[in-house]
């Protein structure tokens, strides 16, 4: 009986300590790069805001909800946060919030995949394990060819055995946006010329110059 109580207490303690383990990684061969304060920052980046709209109702007669707009808005906010965190640009904001004309305007593109449940870990005793792509997919609005795809697969394991996963490399007890940002910075540096090639060259003054 005492052994059972001790095991129960241990399981409860493990759960209270945090039964969630998260691993984020990019399938691209990128090494995270730290920010450099001495790097010159020239470009002003504008991100086109998603249109706020209501989805058609899923059941006729009910009201539509702004689900798609919310998803797109979350992705846009996440892209701006990561672009700002990269420290590579002079200013990053929604296009209409900038006080000047941006050098490059980006728009969101639909990510190729969504979340998926993993069955095998569930069979191994982890009640919930799913992987979502929380990466950044965007394009320059002036060049349909210039598309940028930065996949970031975030796996989340929830359950009593999750604390054991945290001992493994790459796993953390909560989301680690800094790791995403460092890897995204490497991605941006690798695509610097393609991104900057869209910089405005007309006579209109920009914030950067």
């Amino acid at each position: 009986m005492r052994t059972r109580i001790a095991l129960l207490a241990l399981a409860t303690a493990l759960c209270l300590a945090g039964c969630v383990a998260v691993r984020g990684r990019s399938p691209l061969a990128l090494e995270p790069v730290a920010a450099r304060a001495d790097r010159p920052r020239a470009l002003v980046i504008g991100v086109r805001a998603p249109r706020v709209r209501l989805d058609p109702p899923s059941i006729p007669g009910l009201n539509g909800e702004p689900r798609t707009a919310l998803v797109e808005l979350e992705r846009a906010l996440s892209l701006i946060r990561s672009l700002r965190a990269s420290g590579l640009y002079r200013e990053v904001d929604f296009e209409k919030q900038l006080q000047c004309v941006p050098d490059v305007v980006l728009e969101l593109k639909r990510p190729p995949a969504t979340c998926e449940l993993r069955a095998l870990p569930i069979l191994l005793g982890i009640p919930l394990w799913y992987t979502c792509d929380t990466g950044h997919y965007f394009a320059r609005i002036d060049d349909a060819e210039a598309r940028f795809a930065f996949p970031w697969q975030e796996s989340v394991a929830i359950g009593g055995t999750a604390p054991l996963l945290i001992a493994l490399p790459d796993w953390t007890p909560s989301r680690a946006p800094a790791r995403l940002d460092d890897t995204f910075r490497a991605f941006l540096l690798a695509h610097e010329s393609e991104l900057a090639a869209g910089a405005r060259t007309d006579a209109e003054p920009t914030c950067a110059h």
Binding site: V52, L54, N63, G64, E65, L73, F94, K96
Partner: protein, 212 residues
């Protein structure tokens, strides 16, 4: 033990939830005339300004504002008082009145006190604020505040009291859903129709496809 399990299964199967809601409002004077007047209105709900704020930064959250704008459209549509209610950008014609949603001052939701859980033998008690606050776009300081908070009680007590609740003897309690919120909002809008009509916009010619 078996009896308790059976009771728990019964509660779960019946979905014994009761909702406590505010006392119903009285029908305002000239309600029918006001209904006829509002039936010709097209209402636009202004889309929030999309802006970036750092995660966890104080101040209104743009995601909440988008959700609230969608809820305001849904709540106004449900009353069936108006000819049409849409986000302003989705309207082909300029609206008769344009509204801007504001963050409601009440608590979004909160846990009930522990004693209430014990006293009511409840599985769950949820207090939620279903209130709405908006202003006319033409008068940002003119607040229209519709307070409405509900307490949802799920558990044994609603199951035991179901005959009383179903009989309608307790006017501030609803067994299961829907709650009378939509009716209450309808009466709130009728009571404030004269005040709202002060902010009617001059009718511009309607274009088939209005540019945003």
């Amino acid at each position: 033990m078996r009896a308790l399990s059976a009771l728990a299964a019964l509660v779960a199967a019946l979905g014994c939830a009761a909702t406590h809601h505010p006392a119903p409002r009285a029908e305002p004077e000239r309600a029918d005339a006001l209904r006829r007047e509002l039936a010709g209105w097209t209402v636009g709900v202004r889309e929030p300004v999309i802006r970036y704020s750092e995660p966890g930064a104080p101040g209104p959250d743009v995601l909440d504002e988008v959700r609230d704008a969608g809820r305001l459209v849904a709540a106004l549509r449900d009353t069936s008082l108006f000819a049409d209610v849409k986000l302003t950008g989705d309207l082909a014609c300029p609206p008769r009145i344009e509204l801007v949603v504001r963050a409601h001052a009440g608590e979004r939701s909160g846990p009930a006190p522990a004693w209430l859980w014990l006293a009511s033998l409840s599985v769950s008690i949820l207090e939620s604020d279903e209130g709405i606050t908006f202003t006319p776009a033409a008068a940002p300081d003119e607040l229209f505040d519709f307070p409405y908070s509900e307490t949802l009680v799920v558990g044994v007590l609603p199951a035991l009291a179901s005959p009383v609740l179903l009989s309608g003897a307790l006017p501030r309690w609803s067994f299961r859903t829907p709650t009378p919120r939509t009716r209450d909002l309808e009466l709130f809008l009728l009571a404030n129709a004269d005040r709202l009509s002060r902010f009617e916009q001059p009718q511009e010619p309607c274009k088939a496809a209005r540019s945003r």
